[in-house]
Amino acid sequence: MLELKNVTFDVAEEHQQKEIIRNVSFTVDDNRFVVITGPNGGGKSTLAKLIAGIERPTSGSIYFNGEDITGLSVTERAKKGIGYAFQQPVRFKGIEVLDLLRIASGDRRMSVDKACGYLSEVGLCARDYVRREVNASLSGGELKRIEIATVLARSPEMAVFDEPEAGIDLWSFQNLIRVFEHMREKNRQRSILVISHQERILQIADEIIVIADGQVHAHDQREALLPELMSNGNAVNMACSKLTGSMEKENQ
């Protein structure tokens, strides 16, 4: 179980503090598929980085399975079972896809067959890719799928995906939905937290959290929240801004 309590994150900008995340609290229970959505620039990716430990909150606390992990490093959080897929995957000269999957799994002698299994899951023809370097010779879409494969190989208890659909074509987008479904089937204790604008990903969520302006504007079961988000067309951004507007009116 992951719990954020009153998490705030400021950055210094032109001699003044700017609040990126403002007093955010929510809980992700075990075996839940939660999608965080909301307008661009609302703080969603920052939230994912705060959970993975890449950024540290200015105030507030993050708990994982009841333990305060606010002060723990990225490595320590990874070892406790938090996985994180980058929105923009990193390239490495000389490191092969196989190397990366072996590092991810923690099994340095993981067989090529097993590594190929993870690549097949993300729709890559494994034999063509397992010995490729994770460098600029790979396309953005290929890198993105390899990034997701590293999280599959890691098999974390809490998997965080930052816009996994970005840069992925339609065919692998459908595949991506299946990847999430398989992840859930394989381990019922696992929770998945996805940052996404995609309606199809929102449709398979158990819960949806709407983040806008660095705050939680709504957090509810998918059945309760999705119709409202979708009522005015498919664009989540539009729906979110509408939702934000109506909330601001209520607050006045």
Binding site: V74, A78, G83, F92, K93, E96, I103, T150
Partner: protein, 305 residues
């Protein structure tokens, strides 16, 4: 051969015993063991220190090992080795030098290698340099390599220096005839206050020749590296040189890629990039459970693989 010498031999030539094929092992200034084969003949030079290696035309899939081991502190030597590679042959040559210096005097080995590669022959050349020992004396290697590639011949050179050499100036010159091809892959890592200079001058004389000289290096601590690579195109030819370097700590790197085109049809490219390890690379590996130090090692190992 004692235990120290055997250990160095493993490092520089991956040898755990007597190699297959032809070989000449030089230890502390003298040839200690040698074998010629039906197709590869190794003979001592008459006029100065060194050997001649003659490979018969048409020799295929054979190898020749010529490792050098120095374990006597203060020994300084210049050795001249000439390779005559017959037409249509396809061979692997493994050179390499390791120095163990536990004393206070400098140890130095300067190997001067000349390659005469005949028509349509192919050579894969592997050269590893390595140093060890806690003495205050320096471990110095200054290899000079001269390559002559005849028509349609090719040579792949793998130059590796990862650890323990205090000072090195590597000078490699090559001349390529029609359709000859040269590929150089240099991998270098320097530590502490070590200095390493690599100088390449590759001249393409014949139509259709191609050269690709690429260095990947890591400079740590207070070490200094200089990569000075010049590709000269005197005809219709293709040349590329690249220096890709990672800097750490307080290291210094100077990259000087140079192109000289003397013909309208010479197509020459150079690239050079120097920088620290990208922070996001470390973070990615940390999210996979590695510590910062482990992530750095992994990135460097991959980079120099």
């Amino acid at each position: 051969m004692d235990a120290i010498q055997k250990r160095i031999l493993e490092e520089v030539a991956d040898l755990h015993g007597v190699p297959e094929g032809a070989y000449n092992i030089r230890a502390n200034g003298v040839s200690t063991d040698r074998r010629s084969t039906a197709n590869i003949e190794i003979t001592s030079k008459e006029d100065r220190s060194g050997i001649d290696i003659h490979i018969k035309p048409g020799t295929k899939n054979e190898s020749c090992h010529i490792p050098v081991v120095l374990s006597q502190s203060g020994l300084e030597e210049v050795v001249y080795n000439d390779f005559y590679i017959g037409a249509d042959s396809d061979v692997v040559i493994v050179a390499g030098c390791g120095i163990d210096n536990c004393g206070g005097k400098d140890s130095r080995h300067d190997g001067v290698h000349r390659f005469f590669v005949e028509k349509n022959a192919h050579v894969r050349y592997v050269e590893k340099h390595y140093g060890q020992g806690n003495g205050t004396g320096k471990k110095i290697l200054n290899p000079v390599t001269e390559v002559h590639l005849a028509e349609d011949s090719s040579m792949e050179m793998e130059m590796v220096q990862i650890r323990g050499v205090d000072s090195t100036i590597r000078t490699t010159t090559a001349e390529l005839a029609e359709r000859a091809k040269l590929v150089v892959r240099e991998r270098l890592m320097t530590h502490e206050d070590q200095r390493a200079e690599s100088i390449y001058i590759v001249t393409m004389q014949g139509e259709g020749a191609s050269a690709d000289v690429v260095s990947r290096s890591v400079a740590r601590d207070d070490s200094y590296q200089k990569f000075d690579s010049r590709i000269v195109g005197n005809c219709n030819c293709n040349g590329h040189t690249e220096c890709d370097a990672i800097m750490m700590d307080h290291a210094h790197i100077l990259a000087v890629p140079q192109l000289e085109a003397n013909d309208l049809n010479a197509s020459l490219i150079h690239e050079a990039a120097i920088g620290r390890i990208a922070g996001e690379q470390i973070i990615k590996l940390e999210t996979l459970g590695l510590t910062e130090a482990e992530a750095e090692e992994e990135i460097i190992n991959g980079f120099l693989k």
